[in-house]
């Protein structure tokens, strides 16, 4: 969908990644790259390790083997200032929003700004207000996370992830637990931000409608194969793939 997606440079390299807990291997030898400006979707059924792959890419869960390189930095080989610099250049929206319950939405967005920039408090509030406006939450700025709906929580989570304008945003299950209309609204927002800001999105989801609406490219993980079973444009995979599990997934059949 996005014009530059086809031939743009890669911003994330995942090379030969194996992940699991103890002797329980989730997937083996997964290699792919994410290009600048695209919406990249990691999909697969429940329990295939999608969320683990995301946590591994942002440096939370260590891989058993393989390397993750984001914007030229090896995630699992940097420490100290280099790691902090990397962390300010990625944003993460957590599955449940993970907003701080004791702070208003505006304060939640202000927090990374206060930590990593030299902006004064009035400027910070104004910038945070702009981010909440980008996700359509201006009017809820002074509410606490416990006072807003699930869809709003996810939007606020995106606004907080956007606080430092990172070139790469990771979204964990943006449509989980949302109704189709709210979920479609979130998809529109992702496309809109991707188009106007040029942000690269890495989205973990199993929501078929969402994958087809937002994904420029995707990879599919599978629990049985313990690895990656497909890579490419999700619409092409839907129409042309001959892999039985991929066909079953896109046609909503029990494999």
């Amino acid at each position: 969908m996005t014009a530059q997606a086809g031939d743009a440079e890669a911003v994330i390299h995942c090379e030969g990644i194996t992940a699991g807990f103890g002797s329980n291997i989730l997937f083996r030898d997964v290699t792919f790259e994410v290009r600048r400006g695209e919406v990249f979707v990691i999909l697969g059924g429940s329990g295939c390790g999608k969320s683990t792959l995301l946590k591994l890419m942002i440096g939370l869960v260590p891989p058993l083997a393989g390397t993750v390189t984001i914007l030229g930095t090896d995630v699992w080989a940097t420490e100290g200032q280099a790691r902090l610099d990397l962390l300010t250049r990625i944003g993460v929206m957590w599955q449940q929003g993970a907003l701080f319950g004791s702070q208003t939405l505006l304060e939640n967005v202000e927090m990374p700004l206060a930590e990593h920039t030299s902006l004064g408090s009035a400027a910070r509030a104004e910038v945070a207000r702009a981010k909440l406006g980008l996700v359509g939450l201006s009017e809820a700025a002074n509410r606490l996370p416990s006072e807003v709906s699930g869809g709003m929580l996810k939007r606020a989570g995106v606004a907080r992830a956007l606080a430092l304008d990172p070139p790469i945003l990771f979204l964990d299950e943006p449509s989980a637990g949302l109704d189709p209309i709210t979920s479609a609204g979130l998809d529109d927002m992702i496309r809109d931000l991707s188009r106007t800001l040029g942000t690269t999105f890495v989205v973990v989801t199993h929501e078929l409608a969402s994958i087809l609406a937002i994904g420029d490219r995707c990879i599919m993980l599978d629990k049985e194969a313990k690895g990656m079973i497909a890579e490419g444009d999700p619409r092409k995979l839907r129409d042309e793939s001959t892999q039985p599990t991929v066909r079953a997934f896109f046609r909503r059949e029990a494999a």
Binding site: G101, S102, L119, A123, K131, G133, S138, A141, N142, R195
Partner: protein, 356 residues
């Protein structure tokens, strides 16, 4: 950033870091007089940079932005619509009188809720007396273990130290009158009648009351309590009654242990002052009565009831979110300690009237 007769020229990347450095300078220029912001040389703009430009533009009448390249215009216009969205309505604070009224109303309703809770608990307890097989004995035993046996080491240590300190502190002034022999009476009576039950209550409130509140609070936040209600299981019977029973049963034991450990500590200090154990024992048996101990243990049961019930009530009444669980734990400990001190006062009056 260069300034030349009302034209501020910006160039290069205007990202979050650049914008935060530039913010005060540019705002000072923008507020000073009509300025034109020339952004033709800006190669990259992010939303923070765009917010800076738009805020500067709005800071003075006649300010304007010109020369934006197409990609910069996209971001600028997107952020312009974002900032134009209506601001939240400021919440109107209530006038002082209304606030006092609201606080009183809330406090009253809360007190009423506590009375209701106590009533519900009594009904459930009576119902269980009539149908004892409905009591969840396994739960009661688990809570007896958690609130009781696991608190024994702490209780013994605290009691021993308390006895040592009390004996030592009182022996020094009494020695000036040659009256150290009365130290066992003093320490014994204060431990049996007051300090034993009170200190055991503080231990129970800190260890167990807060744990009840946190556990039940997390359960209500996770809607587990609501799920129980909908399955037709009364949370009072399943969650509250075993905990309160454990509190009532465990308190006399803790209180007795604490007292005995205290007396042992006192005996040690008396030994150091040169009084043999037999003298101490004789002194104790002559001056202490069974009534002193039973009165203390009887009180302790009520302390346990108050602490456990307040902990459970705080947990079940918790609001939403992680902070609510913390608040519930705090109010369980504070409420528990305050209530045992109030109860202690009541018992003092009662025992005095009864001539115990």
């Amino acid at each position: 950033m260069t300034v030349d007769s009302g034209v501020v020229t910006l160039a290069g990347r205007l990202d979050t870091m650049a914008a935060s450095d530039l913010w005060p300078k540019l705002m000072a220029q923008a507020a000073g007089g009509p300025v034109v912001l020339d952004v033709a040389g800006v190669t990259a703009l992010d939303t923070t940079g765009a917010t800076l430009l738009l805020t500067a533009e709005a800071a003075g009448s006649g300010n304007s932005i010109r020369g934006a390249p197409p990609k910069v215009t996209d971001v600028l216009e997107r952020v312009r619509t974002a900032l134009a969205a209506p601001r939240p309505k400021p919440e109107k604070g209530l006038p002082l009188l209304a606030r006092i009224g609201k606080a009183t109303w809330n406090a009253g309703r809360n007190a009423l809720g506590s009375v209701g809770f106590l009533g519900e608990l009594t009904l459930i307890a009576l119902g269980t007396l009539l149908r004892p097989w409905r009591l969840r004995l396994g739960e009661v035993l688990r809570h007896l273990d958690e609130a009781g046996t696991r608190a024994f080491p702490l209780t013994l240590l605290l009691g021993f130290l308390l006895g040592v300190i009390l004996a030592f502190q009182s022996a020094i002034p009494l020695r000036r009158f040659g009256a150290e022999i009365f130290v066992p009476n003093l320490v014994g009576i204060s431990l049996l009648r007051e300090l034993g039950p009170l200190m055991a209550g503080v231990i129970l409130a800190g260890r167990t009351g807060s744990a009840y509140a946190a556990e039940l609070g997390t359960m209500s936040v996770n809607e587990e309590v609501a799920a129980l209600r909908i399955m037709g299981v009364d949370p009072m019977g399943l969650l509250v009654l075993p905990r309160v029973m454990a509190g009532v049963l465990v308190m006399p034991v803790l209180s007795l242990l604490l007292t005995l450990a205290g007396l042992a500590g006192m005996a040690l200090i008396m030994g150091l002052f040169g009084f043999p154990l037999t003298t101490v024992m004789q002194q104790l048996s002559q001056w202490l009565h069974l009534g002193d101990m039973l009165g203390g243990l009887f009180k302790a049961c009520f302390f346990g009831l108050a602490i456990a019930a307040i902990g459970c009530r705080a947990g079940l009444g918790a609001g939403r979110g992680p902070r609510a669980v913390g608040d519930a734990a705090t109010s369980a400990v504070v409420g528990g300690i305050v209530s045992i001190i109030l109860l202690d006062g009541l018992f003092a009056v009662l025992y005095e009237r009864l001539g115990w």
